[in-house]
Symmetry: C2
């Protein structure tokens, strides 16, 4: 089914825009358009809503935001000549009805892509299928389009689609193929989850074969709060073969000519490298796009904070990373020395702040108003550490990264305002087992123990009381992570989990812990999503909830 | 247009269910059904999704939750005889497709109401119009119904609708009226906002006149996380006159006979009483439904914490309220003595915990690692107070109520993990000006200064440094609250605010503060919604966002 090159040269412009930065995004689009023209492309394709940024959430509801993005689009069009450009923008919907008090808001905009050519907005295609599940709320914002759209570009009929339009069979792509499209272009904002790049390729290959046309998919790249867009744009030919592929997790520009059997095809990262790269980009972009110069990590000597420090050093540079070790009387010499070794191996600044004096002060102040033991006393320690990190952050302007993993966040094995204090929860969607895998993998890649072996070997402990071990309060992580994967990610019931061979009393215990911790997660910092169900907009459960199981 | 009584006797059963509590809710429904039968009703109407609870959010996505609610419904049906009951439930949708990885989830259930009669589920009506704006995400959960439904009850043709179905003209109600309905029944879960009860009556009166039939509206009552359902159920006759009205903010059962010109018609509360009652119910139900025995409030001597303590005492009883005064070297004698007076006037427990020793300990520990001044030092103080409250909470099991008002939450004039630490932010949606109004009003109602006049007169101050006043950092609250109402609640642009006569530099300053504080609000506890746009699921803005204005 491959044909010889036939003239239409398509550039996939995989850019990293910033939500709300109309000026910066327009400049980025203009630069990539120039580069695509220089590379001989007839058409340059950008990702979904690249001009206003995606997802811009309730910004789309502000009429003046939509107006500003239309003005920016017109200015971009004027800079486009000698090449056609497909640019995603929020298109104000016709005659929105008056908003009633607390009544249905009109959906103010379309999720659209403009075909800019010869200095003008030549055509506009409106997304037909609006995802409204998982992390997506598109029905809240967008009025769906109802029409397919094909356009002649450099003599070739091209069908336009946006992201979800191609995730199900049928219109608009089927109609566009029927109308003679020889290429379907898909402008996407498809967020990362583990292994999703390959899944997308397989699905688009099915569509290409079904419609008998090649598909060019251009994704966004970059971090936006809890989401990471992985890039990984590609072209599949009419036989479903991948004939072009961009890099993952970075900006890229790739030109492919219709009929070309093999343009540049980047090799996708292996699983653990991919997850690590997603986390690193998430941290880098949250830091950069929010204007932080430094990041701070509290190092306990445990494996979670070790991984976070490692990611932070890769994301922003070790010279902009401050590690803070905050020993208490319950901290062992071994963990403290491991913590120091990690900071040193990474080449990061190290600060030591013992929390004993503050613990004494709280004890003195609370006096006989409390029992001074148990959970309350443990939490005071975690909160002193949180306060110290925040004091450094407020004083120096750095972003505090929190270190709790998904297993802990699931069962509430974390102190609100304590170790949960910070701006970004790097491992919030990374189960404990995967934390071990990533550290082992990175050590192996580095060819040395960036994280000392003792950190990996030592049984996990919060070190908030003498001889404390995680496994005193929680099931072994191998079991815990299986229960959590079923309960949280797959929404299985207690009975289904038991049917999968998990012990009933462990299941009951874990489910109760997960449900009870909802109030903590509601106040947790955003985390980077890498699974099919992260804690965040992916999973919206009430705090007040008496359903069990 | 009024007709004489014609036999059909309808009971509005305004109940307060708990999300997820299938057993408890079924019992409540059965009790009210019995009471309605005893009162001679032919039909008893309950609020929307009263059996599973509303909004149960992603619980609706769990198939085993929907199954359990169907089993509970069948059991309820068997207990229904001698009366028909309209009971809201989550009805599993037919043959849900397999869920694809990160693909469109099938909408698993209908938002339905079952007509239970003679021991069976006689009919089911499915909500046609699904709100998906503001606080509502119903397109995420529910497959819409497409049909109107009329049923003969006690010889009278009755049309069934659910909440939003009647908020716009047209089907299903227009079709039901056309099919001969002599009464339209509306089962609702319509959350409170200031003045909404009256708005609803006016809108339903319009519909009643348009369709020429009376409308019986039965709402839920009670608090569910950030929402309060106000009850305020009613019947409007075909002329649009209110001929029956239940109480607000409490459970109620009211029987009205078709054609009756005036059953019991409760007088609605005056504006400030209504807002106060909403806040009180919100606190009471969050506390009760989440199993807290006590509440804790940090009293600063300022007006915000005074109002919160007052509400808390009314919500749970002064004997279950602990007030905590936490003076620093910057606290004035006057504010501390006012704080003590408030606790005493309310009859609440009072604990004093000076924070000086802990401040010293932090200073000593941080040593030359920080400057020890400015915002960092101020925040340390607020965070020590947060930690002390949380230590008491962890030790005694009480719920900490936070005291920041909407004006402060808007501009970020609050310390994350400090005065923002707690389980429920009582005044999160109450602008500062309204805080004053409510306190003045409650003092007047009490006929004495429950809150000392000096608290009302004193210029607001966070007292985190010597001689600090809110107005050093913020515009006067009269101006600030006007900017915030326009920017936050009405989504106005900078230009529109200036056109409304607000000073440009104040507008710019406030907008920048509001945008910059998004990360703090993301980690704030839930608050009780009383306006048309609260911080919570009502307003979803990205943290990473470079759009200004």
């Amino acid at each position: 089914m491959n044909e010889p090159p036939q003239g239409l040269r398509v550039a996939l412009a995989q850019i990293n825009p910033t939500v709300g930065d109309l000026e910066g995004n327009a400049e980025l689009i203009a630069q990539f358009t120039d580069r695509a023209r220089d590379a001989g492309a007839d058409l340059v394709v950008f990702g979904e809503l690249c001009l206003p940024g995606y997802p811009a959430e309730d910004l789309y509801l502000k009429p003046h935001f939509a107006r500003a993005n239309v003005i920016a689009l017109a200015a971009l069009a004027r800079r486009t000549s000698g090449i056609a450009a497909l640019v995603g923008f929020a298109e104000p919907a016709a005659a929105p009805a008056e908003r009633r008090r607390d009544g249905p808001a009109p959906r103010p905009v379309h999720n659209s892509v403009a075909l800019l050519a010869d200095g003008e907005v030549a055509s506009v295609y409106r997304k037909n299928r609006l995802p409204n599940y998982g992390v997506f709320d598109e029905v809240r914002y967008f009025e769906p389009g109802g029409e397919p759209l094909v356009r002649e570009i450099a003599g070739v009929t091209v069908g336009l689609t946006i992201c979800e339009d191609l995730w199900e069979e049928g219109p608009p792509a089927a109609l566009e193929a029927g109308a003679g499209a020889r290429l379907i272009v898909n402008s996407s904002g498809s967020p990362y989850l583990r292994g999703k790049g390959t899944d997308r390729e397989q699905m688009f290959a099915e569509r290409a074969r079904a419609y008998g046309v090649p598909i060019a998919f251009c994704n966004l790249v970059g971090g936006q709060d809890e989401l990471v867009f992985d890039g990984h744009s590609f072209v599949v030919d009419a036989a479903g073969e991948v004939v072009a592929r961009t890099r993952q997790f970075e900006q890229d520009l790739l030109v492919w000519e219709l009929g070309d059997r093999r343009a540049r095809v980047e090799e996708p990262l292996a699983d653990r490298d991919e997850v690590y790269a997603a986390l690193t980009l998430g941290v880098r972009d949250y830091t950069r796009k929010n204007g932080f110069e430094r990041v701070l990590v509290g190092l306990s000597g445990g494996i979670d904070s070790a991984l976070v420090a490692m990611i932070a050093a890769d994301a922003v540079g070790a010279d902009r990373l401050t590690c803070v070790v905050m020993p208490s009387p319950h901290s062992s010499e071994a963990t403290q020395s491991d913590a120091r070794a990690i900071a040193e191996n990474l080449g990061a600044e190290l600060i030591e702040l013992p929390i004993g004096p503050a613990m004494d002060a709280y004890g003195e102040t609370l006096g006989n108003q409390w029992t001074g033991k148990g959970l309350a006393l443990e939490n005071v320690q975690a909160r002193i550490r949180g306060n110290l990190l925040m004091a450094l952050s407020n004083d120096r302007g750095g972003l505090v990264l929190t270190t709790g993993n998904k297993s802990e966040m699931s069962v509430g094995y974390a102190t609100l305002y304590g170790d949960m204090a910070g701006g970004l929860a790097v491992l919030k969607d990374v189960p404990k087992q995967l934390v071990y895998e990533l550290v082992g993998h990175k050590n192996a890649r580095a060819g040395r123990e960036l994280v000392p072996g003792s950190v990996i070997e030592r049984p996990p402990s919060a070190e908030l009381r003498a001889d404390q071990l995680d496994e005193d309060s929680l099931p072994a992580y191998e079991v815990l992570d299986r229960v959590l994967e079923g309960y949280v990610e797959r929404d299985l019931s207690r009975e289904q989990l038991v049917d999968e061979g998990l012990p009933g009393e462990v299941v009951d215990y874990v489910i109760a812990l997960v449900d009870r911790a909802e109030y903590k997660r509601r106040q947790a910092p955003p985390g980077i999503r890498i699974t099919s169900k992260a804690f965040g907009r992916d999973r919206r459960l009430p705090i007040t909830n008496r359903f069990q199981g």
